[in-house]
Symmetry: C2
Subunit: 107 residues, 2 copies
């Protein structure tokens, strides 16, 4: 009890929910927003810009990265995280296909 019963839903439903979950925290939305505005992203910037501690930022980055949304390149001691635009568009498509097939008027 307490944990989501993912096994009772089909893969498509779980994929939609998982995609939404990545965007379901304002820190992660902010991080993605900020990364997209840079040529490259040094993580420590995010600590100052977003206003959360370095471990917390690192943790959120891990969630974003685990979802496949980042392409990481190490450049010396700084790490350059870049948006994986193809994967990001895949997220958009996953959610849009849900929206489009769901928004039929029912009453």
């Amino acid at each position: 009890m307490g944990s989501t019963k993912s096994h009772i839903y089909n893969d498509n439903i779980n994929r939609i929910a998982a995609a939404a979950k990545v965007l379901a925290h304002p820190a992660r939305v902010s991080i993605l927003d900020y990364i997209s505005k840079q040529d490259a992203c040094i993580c420590n910037d995010l600590v100052d810009i977003i206003g959360l501690s370095q471990p917390t930022i690192s943790q959120h980055l891990k969630v974003i990265n685990s979802a496949g949304l980042l392409k990481g390149q190490f450049e010396g001691k700084s790490k350059c995280y870049c948006l994986d635009v193809e994967r990001f568009e895949e997220f958009q498509n996953i959610l849009n296909s849900f929206f489009n097939r769901t928004k039929t008027q029912c009453c």
Copy 2:
């Protein structure tokens, strides 16, 4: 400590995260999916169809409803929940505007 520091983000960021959060659980995705396929929706159906207990379904419906995604109509002892398509499209627009402005290639 432990709770999301919403106050450090701007309204737009918080709105995107809040919209995503509603879709961040497969039960809620399933409920929206199912509702959109019906002319009307008797909640108790959902218990059988989705496979969660009645209180759990009711709780998820509350989250969906609080987000403004349902138009409820009472019809006797059954309650007819219908998708608020305008609000649902608003959700789609909120997320799409985020996707579209964020997916610029960075490296």
